[in-house]
Symmetry: C2
Subunit: 262 residues, 2 copies
């Protein structure tokens, strides 16, 4: 995977106490990607212009504007990758909600959502999928080891889906919302089943991250950092197993611990 | 300052390998704050419901919906702190832009913005304000030492404004956008001059963070982590000194190094 095209070199003054040296530094690209839905400009997102089709699909599913890949008739990436055109059968109510609710989300990754954690009409997640603590511990180690753009720039978030067969799909973005949308979109494009999977996220688990797991029917969400109280409540209410502070062989299971096979 | 009201206790399963212990853990409150402008519901934000008036003022100024505190006639916090009502003389164009542009921002702290980094109509920042590397290094140390909610929950961002007289104003939130809006709003409420000040931010410097410094005429922005390329470009174009990776006695000056007095 050639990620160098998302890197931009800048000339900086490196200071150590009062000593200045001019050196080159590498920063990550950040672009405005605009999503057109059935010919109309729907929304723009600040992101790394990569995996735009997966990003659009994941976002539209996160917001319940489409309910599956089958709703999409055509998807095209245009204007040097800064525009995605989606032709799809859409849920007009959810699209209207996205505008009407205009909720500014809090989490690293930013965004706006029309979902309201108090009124998600998604059935309680009852999947019998179970994992061992060992799987969580070993996968989160791999998750952090293999983050190329982060290594290079210190400026990206990552999301990874661990599937039933032990394989994984990953995505990186400057925003953790985007990273989740992209990784889910990638799974959908590859027709992979995410109903028995684990979503690993590099940032904090605020309510909207958990809501994405709810919307995509991913039963387990894991982070090495903290959840918010509303994140915990949302997971509790919708049957999601929420794991925070997964570090080394330790982890905190906040909700639905029955899926952890000790 | 009593911050305990923003903390919520949850019962968790703490796992170390296969050993489970039930313990209490503390999480941060995350609430939906709704902003009403001249009687109309304008936007909601996921945040810590604290400093709501400062939050609303900073946000409206960030988005150029109001240009100063003088535009505000009345501000009221209602519904147990989950609603802010602002009566103000507003810039209708900027408000319309906020809806029309609907740009999902990328950064930790989330949000939507109507600002477009390519078309900000703010004059180039030419202030002669200078600081020594020592000031940056010693203030960032204090910045991280005094972050109470972060200490308790590992789940908040912080923003701090260092003023010309050496005093500082701080704010914390689950989102770094919110933290910046809050700290700027606090300065405005106290009628403090931020045109010769430094903005310290706990997260990455993506374009929208830098744009907030531009909008509020804060000449220097500092983070211990990385900027994006668009963040660097925005700072360069608008005369903002951008410092990243400020750690110990080291820092990277990405733009307008003339304000650093070595």
């Amino acid at each position: 995977m050639d990620n160098t095209k998302y890197l931009k070199t800048v000339l900086i003054d490196k200071l150590i106490e009062n000593e200045v040296t001019q050196v080159e530094d590498v920063t990550i690209d950040e672009s405005r990607l605009t999503l057109y839905l059935n010919g109309e400009k729907t929304i723009s997102m600040m992101c790394i212009p990569k995996d735009q089709d997966a990003h659009a699909i994941g976002f539209l599913m996160s917001e319940n504007v489409i309910s599956s890949l089958a709703d999409i008739h055509q998807i095209e990436i245009k204007e040097d990758g800064l525009r995605v055109d989606v032709t799809a059968t859409i849920n007009e109510n959810s699209l209207a909600n996205l505008y009407k609710e205009k909720t500014l989300v809090s989490g690293c990754g930013g965004g706006v959502t029309g979902n309201d954690e108090t009124s998600l009409k998604i059935p309680f997640n009852q999947t019998s999928f179970k994992v061992t603590p060992y799987t969580i511990s070993s996968e989160i180690k791999i998750f952090y080891r293999e983050s190329e753009l982060y290594e290079l720039t210190g400026c990206v978030h990552k999301a990874m889906i661990y599937l039933l067969d032990g394989s994984t799909i990953s995505a990186e973005d400057i925003g953790r919302h985007n990273a989740i949308d992209k990784v889910v979109g990638k799974c959908k494009l590859q027709k992979l089943d995410t109903t028995k999977s684990i979503l690993f996220v590099s940032g904090r688990l605020s309510s909207e991250m958990v809501t994405k797991a709810v919307m995509h029917r991913v039963p387990i969400i894991v982070s090495r950092t903290a959840p918010t109280y509303l994140g915990v409540q949302t997971a509790h209410k919708h049957g999601i197993t929420l794991i925070g502070f997964a570090r080394g062989k330790k982890m905190n299971v906040y909700t639905h611990a029955g899926r952890i096979d000790v």
